[in-house]
Amino acid sequence: MLFNSINFLVFLILFLFTYFLLKGRVRVFFCLISSYIFYSFFNYKFLILIILSTITDYLAGLKISSEKNNLKRKSFLFISIFLNLLILGVFKYFNFFLDSFYNLISILNIEVKKIYVEILLPVGISFFTFQSMSYSIDIYNRKIKVEKDLLRFATFVSFFPQLVAGPIVRAKKLLPQLAVFQVFKWSNLFLGSELIIYGFFLKLCVADRLGVIIDPTYSNLMDYGGSVHLITSILFSFQIYSDFAGYSLIAIGIGRVMGFNFGINFKRPYMASSIQDFWRRWHISLSSWLKDYLYIPLGGNRFGVSKKYKNILIVMFLGGLWHGASVTFLLWGICHGVLLIIGETLKKIKYNVPNFFKQLTVFILVSILWIFFRSENLEIIKLKFLKIVSFENYFYNFSYDLFNLVIGFIMVCIVIIEDFIKEKKIKFSKSFRIFLSIFYLWLISFFGIFNGTNFIYFKF
């Protein structure tokens, strides 16, 4: 059930009415069942994976917290991590690893018959396994108390607003909120609705509109000149931002209406003045997850510069791999790692550059790397870059979709203005904010694309 569908709208309204009518454990149970129903609309068979991950981490959490022996605590943590990674490995990376294995043995001149297994990727697998796994790690590190209530824990793992594409909300943040009875507040309804409306604007008016322009240029590369590839590469930066930030805002908004605070997942990433800054603003819940559960345990910046750089590269490599089982994602992650290291080095040099130029440089670099992210294979990346830099027939087929290009451009301008205003911390009166929400609803009605396009991050 996609957020951008009538079915979900009906589901949400019915859910919220019932949710506020119920109290105590019945309400938590209702949340759990609703979340399972929500997930079943994608593929009910994969519910078993969520349940498996839930039971594993629930039991591991109990054992880790009750066990005094450190070795045994470690082994229970290992079981939890191993099982979660196994689910991920089988459903997300199996064919990728198999392919890499075949490539390796072909280098060694060994002939084998290549066999691939057709595996469907469960929606949101990377999100709920990471969310669930962080719980066991936090228990092991004694950062949180064990959750003895299975019902509450299961709801934490499968909570529907952020189940399929995040934000990844840690146990420390969500479990205590699930334990409290959330009363209905008008302020939550207004603030949540404001976020939901803007989230839908980002998804339906910006991301999906830009998708109409961008997708053909990737599927039929040769049909367009360099100028089209250049423009669509820049626009893709806004498509992916609007798509993912849109989803996050809808999720956070729904949570807010229910009385929950999931935190923020995007903080105007294209206003970043360095790559480090970009990663503090982009997909914050994943970046902070990787920092806390990977970068710091690897040693972080505690063992000298070379070790720090190595850790950055490992984290960004795995961050790339998290997005998908493909060389293009790995390259994207590694390149970001290299840029982060360059950024770290440049920090030591004092130079006086206006902030705008720093922001522009970061945006250009990030946009270039989005080409790696969007392309399905290395050949497409190569062709895309060649097209952009070769000036032969540069404006060929430039006006292939002028309508959508103009509308997309206007929508992008609105996003930039909105981000700029927020970045400058300009506050609006409440009545003006209401008017803005109405304005976004008009834009959605008139410019929104309602063909049920999937969110890009669903495939991760």
Binding site: W186, S187, S431, I434, I438, W442, S445, F446, F447, F450
Partner: protein, 297 residues
């Protein structure tokens, strides 16, 4: 804002709906200035002697200006790419209710085959045509209700944007200049072999209604424009069956001009189903030599 939340919600909804109505009506008003035939039709600027209706094949194959000059009559091509006949019937009915019956109505029969997918993209017509609204209500109930609640949604379509575009640029019937490639034909040959030539019931019923309503008052001419020989080869059985069926019902009462296999050279085709500019000129020569056109001329 939170002191009187219920009032805030009411004001929010009212403001949204009032703005929605004002903006959408402004959107409808500016269609008056569009040169697109569909906008001209409803803005009372399209009185014609001959009407041509059909899907993209009729839209591409019959140039209004050419026809007007060689027949010395005002010709309007109200064909819409992807339109099923049931949709074109609505357009025809609306035309007749605004301008009265034309002398001749040409119906390209490929629109009998077209499905309803394209219908919602013309939802701005709900502002102009009750017949169209009823069609949407019948086949796309969800869209009908949402559109009536939020009027701006009626304008949310590429077809409406097309109307707007033709305010700033004068409408000219688009022409195709490419030539079908060997690769395209090979792909077509290898594509799945589902039966394309099967009239949809709703379109067939629509044709019967058109005949019942307008036969005698206007001259109705049923027409099949050329297909690439590969289409004929691939679907020869289905096409024969389709034509046999149409002939058995209509031939005795109506003139059915069948040009389906009248052009064979690749150079006249843009793709297997559409003639290019050269092909359209060739078709014009063939039409002019037809006895029926000699009569009009």
């Amino acid at each position: 804002m939170f002191k009187n939340p219920k009032r805030t919600i009411i004001i929010f909804c009212l403001l949204f709906l009032i703005g929605d109505r004002i903006l959408s009506h402004a959107g409808v008003y500016i269609t008056k200035f569009s040169s697109l035939p569909i906008a001209q039709l409803y803005n009372k600027n399209l009185d014609s002697d001959i009407l041509i209706i059909g899907n993209s094949r009729a839209y591409r194959h019959f140039y209004e200006d050419d026809w007007s000059s060689f027949l010395n009559l005002k010709v309007s091509n109200l064909s819409l790419p992807g339109a099923p006949l049931i949709h074109l019937e609505v357009i025809l009915d609306d035309y007749v209710s605004i301008y009265g019956k034309p002398e001749y109505i040409f119906i390209e029969l490929d629109s009998l085959i077209t499905n309803l997918d394209i219908l919602p993209s013309f939802k701005f017509l709900m502002f102009f045509s009750d017949n169209y609204s009823l069609l949407i209500k019948k086949y796309f109930r969800k869209i009908y209700h949402i559109s009536n609640l939020i009027n701006l949604y009626k304008l949310n379509s590429t077809q409406y944007l097309n109307v707007i575009h033709k305010i700033f640029e004068n409408y000219e019937q688009p022409k195709l200049y490419s030539q079908v490639s060997k690769n395209q034909l090979e792909n077509f040959k290898n594509s799945s072999n589902t039966n394309r030539f099967k009239s949809k019931d709703y379109n067939f019923e629509s044709l019967e209604r058109i005949i019942k309503k307008y036969n005698g008052k206007s001259e109705i001419i049923l027409l099949i424009s050329p297909f690439h020989p590969e289409v004929i080869n691939k679907y020869h059985k289905e096409i024969d069956e389709w034509k046999k069926n149409l002939n058995s019902i209509f031939k005795n009462e109506f003139r059915m001009l069948d040009f389906s296999d009248s052009i064979t050279d690749d150079k006249f085709f843009n793709d297997p189903f559409h003639l290019n500019n050269l092909g359209v000129k060739k078709l014009k020569e063939i039409l002019l030599s037809d006895r029926f056109f000699e009569k009009i001329l």
